[in-house]
Symmetry: C2
Subunit: 111 residues, 2 copies
């Protein structure tokens, strides 16, 4: 969930999981370690297509992960290590977050 | 398209437009003026539900705008001032961007 960009257009019917979080600023090192570990673990999951992340000094970040289908997005949600990381996030790293799961209808890239 | 956060959960069936852009760093002042103007103009459009934006020093930013239905998302895409801003973006502000239009299937907020 660190600086990473994915310039691909994902197919119609793929799933985008939009995670928007206000960071607390607490335990920044622990967050950084876990975020890198989660990035690597997500990339190993069946159906993983890619991830975009942006975040700034104001502590607000958006991560969009892309999945081949809803089953793979749900399997990642239910992954035990990912669950544990989310619990740590609620305990320490985030003050608020929203998640929207959405099905891609169309995409464009420039150039 | 500036620092703005929307902590609401949007309804199933609403549309999320995910705009992920690498900024060129050129004409930063012109970008800032246009981004504020586009934020204000978007908020006046029928069907506008809200917007999240995150971006950092690396120049990569993600803006997610939420719309009541696909018709309102398309009307914003076709808005003449918005079109002109996108043209300026391709000319000066961005080196690359992707747009995914996706239909929300479920959402969660914490806390």
């Amino acid at each position: 969930m660190h600086a990473s960009t994915d310039s691909r257009i994902h197919a119609t019917g793929a799933i985008a999981v939009i995670f928007a979080a206000q960071h607390s600023g607490q335990d920044a090192q622990g967050y950084a370690v876990a975020a890198s570990a989660m990035d690597a673990l997500a990339a190993q999951q069946p159906g993983y297509l890619g991830m975009d992340h942006a975040g700034g000094a104001d502590g607000f970040g958006i991560t969009v992960s892309y999945w081949a289908d809803d089953a793979s997005a749900k399997a990642w949600r239910d992954n035990p290590e990912h669950r544990a990381a989310r619990e740590a996030g609620r305990d320490r790293w985030y003050t608020h977050y929203t998640i929207h799961v959405a099905r891609i209808e169309r995409g464009y890239a420039w150039p």
